[in-house]
Symmetry: C2
Subunit: 134 residues, 2 copies
């Protein structure tokens, strides 16, 4: 049985990166490892590591992405939780067997080789859950 | 300067504990450390530790608590993120100096001696943030 290893990150969708960093970085004191433009996701992402996990601040850079529409509809706030798993393929078989609704039928592979997939909030109790395997 | 040590937990508000556990525990395979009734918070809480952090599933047990009203208004889903801090008193001074709006003006002390306080989502970019110090 595949195993969840840890909370990899919590993603927060933001509309104003400067204002968000004024809280998470300047006031709370988290250190920002990187502020990256990710054109493939139509987003700018601030990575703030904290003890093996991360807070990620994600700002849509276009108005027509899924994230931009989420922001327009629901407002800024927590977007998803990402859990690291030791074997994502096995986990997805396991989830399908339990009739869990997946957004991605098979894991996607990012440019850095990381495999990931999203689980539909309908099956999690309203939480968008991402799975990662490095 | 006070320092954030880690993500202590991510809290999910749920309306159906059995259904939520069917996902988080049975399908995803997280182990439940405890299912606790917390009358002081008018809630039942499932604690699912994962590598030094926790996923907490929180089900309101009355209809008039703040959490019950949140659930009725916003539906089930992520409720707050809790960050562990080495010195909560110092952190709260630090946050006030940066004009961060706090829900609790001073830390509260739980029955187990833990000190905690909430930061208002207005100052965080829409995220309810809890601070813990053990």
């Amino acid at each position: 049985m595949a195993k969840i290893k840890k909370i990899n990150h919590v993603a927060v969708v933001v509309d104003d990166m400067e204002k968000s960093l004024a809280f998470w970085q300047d006031a709370l004191g988290l250190e920002m490892a990187e502020l990256r433009d990710v054109p493939a996701e139509s987003a700018q992402i601030a990575f703030l590591p904290v003890s093996g996990s991360e807070v990620e601040l994600v700002r849509p850079t276009t108005t027509d992405s899924g994230l931009a529409k989420y922001l327009a509809k629901k407002g800024a706030g927590m977007h998803h939780i990402c859990l690291e798993v030791d074997n994502i393929d096995e986990m997805m078989v396991q989830l399908k067997e339990k009739n869990i609704r997946l957004i991605n039928d098979a894991p996607k592979t990012a440019a850095d080789g990381k495999k990931y997939a999203f689980i539909h909030p309908e099956s999690t109790g309203g939480v968008l859950v991402e799975l990662y395997q490095f």
